[in-house]
Symmetry: D2
Subunit: 460 residues, 4 copies
């Protein structure tokens, strides 16, 4: 029996390859899908079926591309949409590959028509269940995608799905969710690398409730909604454009890069420190390891992206972008910032400050204007630096007017990554004096510096 | 949290790497152990602890080598032995790496002092348990290692370990055994790639018993005991010799190979068909993918091995051999059998016959002397070819006199691999006429050919 | 400066990647061309130009595919053809990438319009010359492609190209040919991995001539012409079909493979011994490492190929086939011959015999019907086995009637590879008794067995 | 025939693997030597001989380690030293591997007993020559290693070696030097990736001389002498310590790293920009890609090194250090500077300024104290920034008093790498205000900013 979880870092997306005999199937394939073909072939298997748990909103599904490469049948859930491809799954449908059976189990709540897929072993025993976005390790799927007004309804339906369809399968059944920690599709997914219905029943905070009503209250809230979700939803019903191989954006010398970038956006995926030291004027900073999480908030689909990336991160960045449907890549800066500077071109930098320095500044009575970019949950849990204003990074665009232009703004977050994203955005919008607090709340706590639970709202 | 199962194919050995924060630990490391160091380093972790579940008998443990590379502490179970290294574990001992806790749980039965290791997540919840050789997917550990007379005692203790210490942890706890399907340490391990206490409680055949007595009866039997177990047992108490890197046996031209091999043994790890077509006279055939399973039965430690291997299998074969402590490698035949033949040297071949041909032969009233080399379990389950004599491969050495020298012996097994091993052994011992039945019982069943449950014993 | 020779094994094809600054160019790219893009990108370079030395006949050129991936300009030679793409090169044209200059140098002879490309270093000094199929290490390009009647003319023009355009560049200039040893584009290419004009001037046998006439006489002969050359020639003028990635033929279980193969051809790329031991009835044997050399002689373009290949050779075989434009791949036999036999299906085998056995047979007065499949050159150089009949492998199809059906035919070649190809062909054509002589002439010579220079022609 | 040049980046060291039949030899192996074993094995060859061109001074030779892995014979040149291993080569000695011959050719000048090795092809023709440190592309070996007083003598002997022993081999012979561009063993090695005696005869600047005297005058100068050369010289006569595999320094959390580093030196191999943005206080900056060139100038052998490195550069840095004999590695900072800052620990940074900013500063009449760290040759060739003081980086330690402590020192070099090394050194020595000019002279020239040929010497 072949069983592999294929993880797409960044998006925290999990897909599954299941095979037996000479056949295999894939659940929720990603767009750069040769990996499934290769691993199945290594085991002597042909991919015959592709199953989707739901119309995904956070990444471009690879079903159509994978079917083109293998001839596999596609089965999609959420049949209420007007899919341009494949066959709709009905509750209870069963497939087999070799000795292994797979059964669809309708689990609405996250979306209308979500399907879980129960895997049976060669003896027909339920063995594991692909829960899609219904149930995660330590969390459940968000229920706000159909609009705020339907949140209670969808939360209730999710409760029913979990308690009536999943948990009765038995504590011992292994849970195979569509996402791991860090996904935008569920809040606070736990770090447990593998989990079971028994573990979730006993420890998942969302399930420690006395009633359906309490569940609805606990999970029935709106979460941040990255704008690229709209594009993904449309793409995943139409079928994303073919991706015969990863794009190979051309390497461009500094001048060619500068010329090209005028019609596009410079995206700098180096780490925060490198960006702070020097970057192409106007560049947006999103560290490659956070592209899956933050790219969809800030990147446009209608203009080409021009990348600044270290040699080691270039391919990863291109792959992450492709998974979110960002295929318009104008080029990569050959030789990086060093070549840019060696071409005598102007670059910008950001100030930074360490936690001990900020502590000293505060202790001496300085009154820095600190912009805390963390989420509400983080601020509630850990408090913040005395005097800081709180604007979550994902709301910064709408609420930017709360940030004064005349101050040196000290951007503050968990460790410094989001601060650097925010500082790069503010710089693009014209804020002149920006300082990133490196180490962020992690460093602040480690240093034992004073915190306050009260958070002043932005200056507005 | 870092969690990886590292599998050693062939031996069907599973080891585990668990980490959190900047620290990691390894349970039952294999001897070629750089993989743990590299994967931990990739996550920014240092390996600080090495835990052994028991004094292993089927492979050379990598604890000492891994400790030399990392400075990690070694903790070994089975403290009744006189270990030359590390610290003995006592029941209940607890370690932590980062946020993760690990607790020793005495589970005797397979050996006297076997320890399971319970993994707790960051919240202190039991989450998974490394069961060593106590509990496998669909099977339990063998209980005959301390001798036939102690089988009932050890089986009873294993029953107590499973029912009193493991199952009470809860159905949802994930089971992390030391072996997968194909291991010599348990009979009939299931193909489920992951399992849980709940799945095992409900479906493990050994646990579907009404009483301790029934369990003892069911699992209390002697299994084949590969001779290399003795060497492994000794090595694993002394600490296997250092293995700073995999051996690189020299490539030898045909004449140099022939000269060297006189003082050693030629081991041909190519597949069965290639061996049948042509091989160095006197060579022993064990296909590289079965080296872990059969090598320990037939290979000596006191003479150098000379390998015939395809380019793609050479390194795998060397790795498999090193895992069983076979470090004396005299050389590899450069250019393979083609070079041997192009040097004008004599080679031998084996006859083969397909299932349809054998069927025809029988249908026409031929009376071939068929030697069935499968296990008792296989013969009981599937029957055999009418008229076949049954001598399990692992008993062939002692029972060879049951095989007549004057007959053309048709070697028969599951698919043709063991038949080829047996034919190569018989050829070494002087049997002149040998034919391998390709496809074996799998082909026989697929062709729907007649089978009999009655098995005539060898001619002796 | 970036300079890499990219070799395509099998075809013995050399292409070149040359770069400087942020730009690179490729000379004679192969069809699976991502390698150029990746290596250039690793150096921070964009491929801006693709140069072809001539309308190739032995492989599918990758210019169009590479241009699609990079936007590079294509420049092709042999402008007399009606190309569907790119720009024609004129003698003397010069390009630059970074500091490096490249100059076209018309060198007709192999084809009408062949261009060499002279590479200059940053100081403008001639440094190396891409000689295409004009000049190889130890050989020169074949001059028979335009027909037997034009051989003297083309040989003369090649002499002029070499002596008037190449050699005057100076002994120290490095020679970068389009092929290495084993290519069908030149006879007896030497094994020197790198060479220079000076080495060739002094040691190339074709250039050790007293006059143009002597050169014409020496090189002016017709060489074997693989039928696939016709397809390649057409493809390379039209531009081969896009190849966005290597084909991933589906893995098929034995029955599905057998069903599919009825409408196609089974191609077995395992080595000769494995094929001899067992193969799918009707399969054609061409070892994967010889696909580039012999595939084009025997494989059809109009029917799908079904592959039998070891796991390690599958991708190589697919790549080799793609390079010759064989894109119709119906599937791969999952699990190989072992799975085929385990499905209870019939397989065929070939007899083999070793050199010492054949020697003994002859010594004892046996009169085996030996079919020597080597080239005329080989037979002239080394003689043959007493009594053997000579039919070169590449003429076997036309001359098969010279081989008696009623005899046990002993196929003989250099080492056993071509014999196995021939035996698989004869078996397809209905010859009932075939034996391969393993080791071939190499083994025969190594054994010091008697040879004769007189070769009886086939029985016809 | 097997022929490969194996390049060790950073050190710009070239070694050669030459094989034929079943045997191969290596010339000047590096210390991490498994690469030779693996590549030879891939071709079915055993390494039987190891040849050294001379007692190397710039890297730790791998002969002893490689011999331990293969059983090969070692042959060393410079027999005047008291070697602890191997056999001394005499002029004219000849070896063969398979069909290939190798002949020693005494070429003193760089050292007393340097040997070139002439490679002959299967026909006995001289084909290529390993020139060691006698002759490079566009340069010749340094002649100052035996002391300033012997420079004229050694230069003369080198002239004789080149003109009497190498050039007479013929223009067409390929030159295989021991170093490529960037090595400390010869000045201004050219970028030609391959070269010949003919090219060097015509274009090597050192050989464009009218007489032996002119040659002596041109090449007879003392070059910078990295202190680690002393250690390498001693090690290469004793045989470097065994290196069974690359060191795996432990990953350390920030606090463990800080604790450990107190007894060692923190070496930060990230690129210049990242270092400038934040680094561990007291860290020495040497970018991993320049470790081979600058590490030996500034790193101690008697204290452990603690590394700060990106994930992608860690292994490269460890490898580069091992090649220079730096085996004492205390640990690697897990999680890099981000983890350091997230632990609330203090970090330092360096100011930087771009070329356009510096230009503006100068244009406005600012008088920055600019420290030009380039070599004399670079300053002579390109001039410098008006007002800059010149102290080559490799002299900075002795001449540091010329740099005023009270000024903001603007470190200036070719692109910014050496400036950052220098700034990190000065910071360690207590200089309080340091600014790195990014882009350096390359950017300065690209921007067309004014330069002066007159260079003020340091303030001393």
């Amino acid at each position: 029996m072949l069983f592999e979880r294929i993880e797409s870092a960044g998006l925290a997306h999990y897909s599954y390859l299941v095979g037996s005999g000479h056949e295999a199937l894939v659940i929720d394939p990603r767009r750069d899908c040769q990996v499934y073909v290769d691993r199945a072939a290594r085991e002597g298997m042909r991919i015959t079926h592709i199953l989707e748990t739901h119309r995904n909103e956070d990444y471009a599904i690879g079903s159509v591309e994978l079917a083109a490469r293998t001839g596999a049948e596609i089965w999609h859930a959420d049949a209420q949409y007007d899919y341009a491809y494949g066959n709709p799954v009905a509750d209870g449908r069963r497939w087999t590959v070799g000795d292994v059976g797979v059964r669809a189990l309708a689990c609405p709540g996250h979306t209308e028509g979500m399907m879980a897929y129960l895997l049976e072993d060669a003896d027909g025993h339920p063995w594991a269940v692909c829960t899609g976005d219904a149930l995660f390790a330590g969390s459940v799927g968000r229920v706000d995608l159909l609009g705020a007004d339907r949140i209670p309804e969808m939360a209730g339906r999710l409760y029913d799905s979990i308690t009536e369809r999943l948990l009765p399968l038995g504590d011992g059944v292994i849970v195979l969710p569509a996402h791991g920690p860090g996904s935008a599709c569920g809040a606070s997914i736990a770090e447990r690398p593998w989990t079971t219905l028994g573990i979730e029943r006993r420890h998942n905070p969302a399930l420690q409730v006395a009633s359906r009503e309490e569940f609805i209250e606990r999970v029935g809230q709106a979460l941040p909604f990255p704008p690229y979700f709209y594009t993904m939803e449309r793409m995943n019903v139409e079928g994303p454009p073919p991706l015969p191989r990863l794009p190979s954006p051309p390497m461009l010398g500094p001048q060619a890069f500068a010329d090209g970038a005028r019609a596009g956006l410079v995206l700098d995926v180096r780490d925060a420190l490198a960006f702070q030291a020097a970057h192409v004027p106007g560049a947006l900073s999103i560290w490659s390891e956070r592209l899956g999480r933050y790219g969809g908030w800030f990147l446009p689909y209608d203009r080409p992206l021009f990348l600044v990336a270290g040699d080691d991160a270039r391919e990863d960045a291109v792959r992450s972008l492709a998974r979110m449907g960002y295929d318009r890549l104008g080029g990569v800066l050959s030789g990086g910032m060093e070549a840019w500077q060696a071409a005598g071109l102007e670059s910008d930098s950001l100030m930074n400050i360490t936690v001990p320095q900020l502590e000293t500044l505060l202790a001496r009575g300085g009154e820095p204007w600190i912009l805390d970019l963390r989420t509400h949950e983080e601020v509630e849990r850990d408090g913040t630096v005395p005097g800081a204003r709180h604007v979550p990074l994902t709301s910064l665009s709408e609420r930017r007017d709360e940030v004064p232009r005349e101050e040196n703004v000290f951007a503050f977050c968990g460790t410094g990554v989001r601060s650097t994203i925010a500082a790069s955005l503010l710089a693009r919008w014209g804020w002149p004096r920006l300082t990133v607090v490196m180490g962020g709340m992690e460093g602040w706590k480690a240093a034992g510096a004073p915190r306050t639970g009260q958070v002043a709202q932005g200056a507005g």
